[in-house]
């Protein structure tokens, strides 16, 4: 996975028909939400609490996709599908690591922007 976070606020704002300053606020808000969700998932994934994991991944996937955070969306979607299909625990753990990596790149980018 690339270790660079790439995102064009102006292009996404145009695509979404929203003001760039509002998109920036939405990204900051989602960055905080995502940090909280990762803390929750860090507790839920090892004990395989599938209902709660599925609900969180569904929400994150929806918002990540809406904000055009491609890697966050894709890794959340893959993990969501795997949890729904009751894939083995070791696979879910690996997918969770990929999701965290994608999310942390975004979170760090927001922190430093």
């Amino acid at each position: 996975m690339s270790d660079e976070f790439q995102y064009d606020i102006a292009a996404v704002a145009t695509e979404l028909r929203i003001r760039p300053e509002i998109l920036k606020k939405l990204l900051e808000s989602f960055s905080n939400t995502l940090s909280e969700k990762i803390i929750q998932l860090d507790m839920l994934v090892p004990v395989n609490d599938t209902d709660k994991i599925r609900a969180i991944m569904h929400e994150v996937k929806g918002t990540g996709g809406n904000l055009r955070l491609t890697k966050v969306y894709e890794t959340a979607d893959t993990m969501h599908v795997a949890v729904k299909a009751e894939e083995p625990q070791n696979k879910i753990l690996n997918l969770f690591e990929e999701f965290k990596e994608a999310s942390n790149l975004f979170i760090e980018h927001i922190k430093h922007s």
């Binding site: 979404l16 028909r17 929806g62 996709g65 904000l67």
Partner: protein, 131 residues
């Protein structure tokens, strides 16, 4: 301007929808089913909503249940079938869900939201917004 109720428990998605519609609609928001029913009932006393954008997956009262309750309430108020408020379901599920149509939803849009498509779908139901 259209009068729209945005029902969405996720704050970022809620803000995004309101922002996309800012030049077209006066939006009220509700973060859960209970709030949505309150707003909907209040609106009936003044100016009813032209349309409700309804998230499917919400805690406690989910979108489908809320849809059912709104249609039941219209039936109780003798609003003829098909003349109630237009409801567009917003979902991250990839497949269309027939249950929502059986319960009386008018259309649906899949997340990630496509702003142009969303506005087109609303225009199809309500006609152009008079700004």
């Amino acid at each position: 301007m259209w009068k729209i109720l945005v029902v969405e428990d996720n704050i970022e998605n809620q803000m995004l929808l309101v922002e996309i519609l800012r030049d077209h609609a006066n939006c009220d928001t509700a973060s859960n089913g209970k709030e949505a029913i309150e707003r909907y009932n209040e609106s009936l006393k003044e100016k009813p909503y032209d349309l409700i954008l309804l998230d499917v997956e919400m805690p406690e009262i989910g979108g489908l249940e809320l849809l059912r309750r709104i249609r039941q309430s219209e039936e109780a108020a003798d609003i003829p079938l098909g003349e109630g408020v237009s409801i567009i379901m917003v979902t991250a599920h990839k497949k269309p869900f027939l249950d929502a149509f059986y319960q009386g939803c008018n259309d649906y849009i899949i997340k990630p939201i496509d702003a142009d498509k969303l506005i087109q779908k609303i225009e199809k139901k309500l006609g152009p917004a008079n700004n």
